[in-house]
Symmetry: C2
Subunit: 400 residues, 2 copies
């Protein structure tokens, strides 16, 4: 961890040198890694003391981390994760609440809270996170960062702790799109489904309707800038049936898989958990096959629906979240409500497996707001290229 960590973004492990290539495409950049990924010489804590105790010192480094080291990036440390990566508040009852560098009075979001905190506070240039239900996109929205949830399976999660494997993805954060793209050049090979030069910009009016009116108004200039670069957005309906149906399909799939992942730990060691995480995991245990089977079918239908809507050239432009980050002092009930509302829009990328990039192009009440591009499976680098074109037309990023 860095000697100076006023944001409490890093887990204070003793420093163990982690070698990196002396030159490479990421030379000069330093990075943090969410404490779900194995790094040789360090434990992997997963945001829970019992997981940390059981970890021991890892002898292998996760391939995705190694790829960054081999590209010349320097590791600064491991960043705090929400407990078992199963929260969106950025408040870990065991390891603390990393500060949001763009809006310190507001939560950083989670579960990649420490990574977003480290980058937004300037403690490193970029940081790895994971996104199952929004754990990169939410902190990116809240902390004024670029953040990608890649196409499911595209960036390796080998050597990282699972939450819900069919939904888990490995993403990253940066303050500016140039740095973000440099990392993409290392972590992503050529897009298997690149977008054409001329994309069809689609505005899912039902997703926009989920947002607070003040947030919609605040995003308007960024939307106009995006349209100026990519062409006028056509209104579409993104949801299948209802957001409520999507929400429940997501939650049942995530819940069953989270219980399969963490149930054995919980049943054997009975580790104390933060109250909200415990409540959710207790709920996960109750998910029945009668809930899961239709959810899985729904998921397949939704993926087909969204795939058909996007085709090979369609890009959704939409708010990353329904609003800015909640205040740090809000109640657990308020956070649970926030999480449930957030899941309605965030679950689209999870259910479909399609990539979503959040761009820090707006703010309201002094806090950042992200505008998202969501494209077809395998269009990740194309989305980042679009973001570079959009950013080029705008003043310097608001934060960073």
């Amino acid at each position: 961890m860095p000697l100076h960590d006023p944001a409490h973004a890093f887990v204070p492990y003793p420093d163990v040198p982690v070698p990196h290539a002396s030159t490479g495409p990421l030379t000069g950049l330093c990075f943090g890694v969410k404490d779900l990924f194995d790094i040789a010489g360090y434990p992997t804590g997963g945001g829970n003391p019992i997981v940390l105790a059981r970890s021991g010192i890892k002898t292998r480094t996760a391939p995705t981390v190694q790829r960054l080291l081999d590209a010349g990036a320097r590791l600064v440390g491991k960043t705090v994760t929400d407990e078992l990566a199963f929260s969106m508040t950025g408040h870990n009852v065991h390891f603390g609440a990393p500060l949001n560098g763009a809006a310190p009075e507001r939560i950083s979001g989670g579960s990649s809270s420490g990574s977003a905190s480290a980058v937004s506070n300037g403690l490193c240039d970029f940081a790895l996170g994971t996104d199952t239900g929004g754990s990169v996109r939410a902190p990116a929205n809240h902390c004024g960062l670029y953040g990608l949830r890649p196409t499911h399976g595209r960036v390796s999660l080998q050597g990282a702790l699972d939450l819900a494997p069919s939904l888990d993805t490995c993403g990253w954060f940066a303050r500016d799109v140039q740095t973000f793209a440099r990392v993409a050049d290392v972590l992503l090979d050529a897009d298997p489904a690149p977008l054409p030069a001329q994309v069809r910009l689609l505005k899912p009016i039902d997703v926009w309707a989920l947002s607070a009116p003040a947030a919609v108004a605040a995003l308007e200039p960024a939307l106009r800038a995006t349209e100026a670069v990519l062409g006028a957005a056509q209104p579409v309906q993104a949801q299948l049936d209802s957001f409520e149906a999507m929400y429940w399909a997501f939650r049942y799939v995530q819940g069953r898989e989270a219980w399969m992942t963490d149930g054995p730990l919980l049943e054997r060691y009975a580790p104390p958990l933060g109250a909200a995480v415990k409540q959710r995991l207790d709920w996960c245990k109750t998910v029945t096959d009668a809930q899961l089977v239709p959810a899985t079918a729904f998921r397949a239908r939704f993926r087909a629906h969204l795939g058909a809507l996007l085709g090979r050239d369609g890009v959704l432009v939409m708010p990353t979240m329904h609003d800015i980050a909640p205040l740090r002092g809000d109640s657990e009930d308020a956070f649970e409500d926030y999480r449930n509302r957030s899941t309605e829009s965030l679950c689209m990328a999870g259910l479909s497996g399609f990539p979503q990039l959040s761009m820090p192009l707006a703010s309201r009440a002094g806090a950042p707001l992200g505008l998202s591009l969501l494209g077809p499976a395998g269009s990740d680098r194309s989305l980042i290229a679009l973001a570079e074109r959009i950013a080029a037309t705008l003043p310097a990023p608001i934060y960073g």
Copy 2:
């Protein structure tokens, strides 16, 4: 840790072989060690996730642990401690609440909760703990175990995390006095101030008056058995001024030292703490020199007073605690009240530095109660020898 740990007594670190002598006075015995002591190959967690994260893997074993290994005892694992060793409830919000093997519906007591739990549940033969304000004696009382707070400084705490160094001691637990004495033979050299063959048994009527009437009644047979062996107890007054004055002297000294120990950690890393521990540490920060200086003077006077009372042959016989363990489900307020009441009698050994041995010789409402012998500085082994004589006149221990 043992493969089977239904009591959640052990921190589930990965097993690392810790060599022990093949033969010695403790051959055939296995033991647990409170997770404050360094053991090569393991981290030292201190009951707090940030302490655990910062620990790294230790390369040296604390001399007291090594002494046990060199005597042929086999290490089973590291036991859960209350957070920063600064609680008496045996409930660690990060690592759990080890079960009381003698009264599972009641707390194990702390801070050596895991050690008392492991022994009382039969998961090992003896276990090391520490006692600053009662952290061996309270769990011994609650879990039906022999437990010694040795003369201050007599058993090395090198390589162990501090709480309040002028009060910290290293003690241990066993289910029967024979095992207890075997460990004493290894950890304690010959008594520097052995008790004579005929001791003066003293009954501090003011300490007995602190106990619940039902507890006094339950302890009566054990007191009579002790008198039968050692002679009739003479009534004395043990307190100096008042128990309230002793309580505050103890708390100010402990508070200042605890803040000197843990303040730098708290101020730099802001680790989340259990609510009660946090409240106490916040209070510790407020202890002023105007409170500490008279407390230190009082402590010296009390030590002289108790030393004069005991002389070279005096032994106090008294309840270890005012009552049996509280129920696990009691409120934090109830626990705080319990802790404050407990401190009144437990602080005598702390303020004086004199040894106190708790013997599991009584019970009420199905839960254990300990009777204590408190002797002059340096009489530790003599106290254990008295306990062996008393136990020889009684049926097998109630628990274990």
